[in-house]
């Protein structure tokens, strides 16, 4: 895969005067869903705005599928952006919003109308197409923003907190849309605070804090690289005390918490592989009846907590 097929961020820094936006960021983002995760003020929006060309880097270069911001007429045919701000030009209906800006792309009336309608259909907003956007509910405004971003069928879709304000049904539909676009070969770059959803839908995550990219890759890969960080594994079985006793004979076990119902335990271990091996032996030796074994922190939330040190759920 060449740079023509990727979003390439090459050693990019952005300073607002003396304030750091992002620093020495290097990324190469292939097609698929990529999530940008970090606490408030981490530099997520700055990074997205740099990729979009709304901001110019202080240092470094950015190209999106081989195009730079110096060629806006080529770049923005390929790029769609959904801002985090709940803001729209005044007085426009949903249809007018999408149609009007498609016309700015240079499309004919017929094409613009057809594509605008199609975008509204994609986000299930055709019934409200002729109502003013300012009269929409928060979820509808979020969806019309999304429709505007995808209306010209971009190859790169950049979404700044796109799931905010959506009810569970709409959220599921939007996520399915992202997955569909990604399956078609688009780059979908999302920043979100809804960590478990990002965890579910992302092909890879980029963790950012204080303007630095602290980790990048798929969630499992990021987790595996954190060798020294103990991993939590939940075991549901009939004799958890026996498992706990055996575990403490090993060096890798750090902590064990018994479940209140006496039917399981949570173990923190420095080596998941060694623990699974030990568990196999206990099952065979003690005839242990195991109901379930599952890693408890193999998700973005735990990775996030470990790398960034905040509770991602409370962002």
């Amino acid at each position: 895969m060449t740079d023509q097929d990727k979003i390439v961020v090459d050693n990019v820094s952005k300073f607002y005067g003396e304030v750091l936006g992002v620093n020495r960021v290097c990324l190469s983002i292939p097609p698929g869903i990529t999530s940008l995760v970090g606490p408030n003020g981490a530099g997520k929006t700055t990074l997205l705005n740099l990729i979009c060309g709304l901001l110019r880097p202080t240092k470094g270069k950015i190209s999106v599928l081989g195009q730079t911001v110096n060629e806006p007429d080529l770049l923005y045919r390929k790029l769609g952006y959904c801002s985090q701000f709940d803001a729209f030009p005044r007085g426009l209906t949903g249809l007018e919003l999408i149609y009007g800006y498609l016309k700015v792309y240079g499309l004919s009336d017929r094409e613009a109308h057809q594509m605008a309608w199609s975008a509204l259909e994609t986000v299930n907003l055709t019934d409200a197409a002729n109502r003013r956007v300012h009269a929409y509910s928060k979820g509808m405004r979020q969806r019309v923003k999304l429709a505007q971003a995808i209306s010209h069928r971009p190859q790169v879709l950049i979404l700044d907190e796109p799931l905010n304000g959506l009810d569970p049904m709409a959220r599921a539909e939007v996520i399915a849309l992202f997955q569909r676009l990604a399956a078609d070969g688009a780059h979908v770059l999302i920043s979100s605070h809804i960590l478990h959803e990002v965890d579910m839908i992302s092909d890879r995550v980029i963790l950012i804090n204080n303007g630095y990219v602290v980790a990048e890759g798929n969630i499992r890969g990021v987790r595996d690289e954190m060798d020294e960080h103990p991993m939590q594994i939940m075991v549901r079985c009939d004799r958890p005390a026996a498992v706990a006793a055996k575990a403490f004979e090993q060096d890798h076990a750090v902590e064990v918490k018994m479940h209140e119902d006496g039917q399981g335990l949570m173990i923190r271990t420095r080596s998941a592989d060694q623990f699974y091996l030990m568990l196999n032996r206990i099952v065979l030796d003690c005839n242990l009846n195991v109901e379930a074994v599952a890693p408890a922190d193999d998700d973005v939330y735990s990775v996030y907590q470990y790398l960034i040190g905040t509770d991602g759920g409370r962002l």
Binding site: Y16, N49, C52, G53, L54, L55, R56, P72, D73, L74, L75, Y76, R77, K78, L79, G80, Y81, S83, F85, A87, F88, P89, R90, G91, L92, G100, Y101, K103, V104, Y105, G106, L107, E111, M115, Q148, H152, R153, P154, Q155, L181, D184, G185, A186
Partner: protein
């Protein structure tokens, strides 16, 4: 793989046709904003206030010595036009319309809709400038024409017919309308630039107003560095400027009009340069 609909936009066509379509599309989006909304109350007031005064002049008939001759009515219009329409209505109206073209979109966090369209930023500046220009022309050329007609209404239909069909009425009307058009063109470009370069346009606008107001007191060469000097030179009825004024030879229309338009183009180019470097952070304004 997704294929872009838009790749074929410039295929086989000249970029100028695309730019023209884009300019018209921008104007289409802006037109609604230019005429509707609470923020335009002040602009409507500036455009309609002199009209209202002249309507009252018709409705509350003045004594014959107050009404004066049609020649004196021409002077009344010159006063209305040169002291209020040019110096206040068009100046403040253009300030409100043109400084807002970009700044308001930054305030309302909607400028990215334009900046992330495949449109050259120069085209965006031209599209927005023309939409502002159309709005200001409708407001202020409309106001000028209405005022000119209303000044002569009290003299009756017969006089109106003679004055406009056989006399100098139509020529004067067109001249005044052209002066207003040029005022909108010039002040519009200046305020577009001020709105882009200054976060708070009041102080540069205040300085400009001060400069334009004391212009007649300045030496000749300084008088020529102002919009109002050229506009007043083109007015058909000159207005006495008072004992303190420094009389300057009016600039010929053949020099002032092309010079004025050339300067306007330069100012618009400076605006385009600023927009091409514009970064959108939507910070606290």
């Amino acid at each position: 793989m997704i294929t872009s609909f838009l790749d074929r936009l410039t295929e086989g066509g000249s970029p100028w046709s695309v730019w023209l379509r884009q300019t018209l599309a921008i104007m289409g989006l802006e037109t609604k904003k230019s005429f509707l909304g609470r923020r335009l109350i002040a602009v409507y007031f500036l455009a309609l206030a002199p009209v209202a005064v002249l309507v009252i002049r018709i409705m509350v008939p003045l004594r014959p010595e107050e009404l004066g001759t049609p020649g004196e009515a021409g002077m009344v219009f010159a006063v209305v036009f040169q002291t209020f329409v040019l110096r206040f209505s068009v100046f403040f109206g253009c300030m409100s319309i043109f400084t807002n073209l970009f700044r308001r979109e930054v305030m309302e966090k909607t400028l990215h809709f334009y900046l992330l369209s495949p449109v050259k930023r120069e085209v965006l500046v031209v599209g927005k400038y023309f939409s502002g220009l159309i709005a200001s022309l409708v407001f202020f050329v409309g106001s000028t024409i209405a005022c000119f007609l209303l000044v002569y209404v009290p003299y009756g239909n017969k006089f109106m017919e003679d004055f406009f069909l056989e006399g100098v009425g139509t020529q004067q009307l067109l001249t005044y309308a052209s002066v207003t058009t040029m005022a909108c063109v010039g002040y519009g470009a200046v305020f577009l630039l001020i709105g882009l370069y200054f976060r708070n346009p009041i102080f540069p606008a205040g300085l400009l107003l001060g400069w334009e107001t004391i212009n007649f007191l300045l030496p000749s060469f300084l008088q020529k560095i102002s919009v109002v000097h050229y506009l007043q030179s083109l007015c058909p009825v000159p207005l006495p400027l008072g004992p303190l004024a420094i009389i300057t030879e009016p600039t010929s229309a053949w020099v002032s009009v092309p010079g004025f338009l050339g300067l306007t183009i330069l100012v618009i180019l400076a605006s385009a340069l600023q927009v091409s470097r514009l970064e959108v952070t939507y910070g606290a304004d």
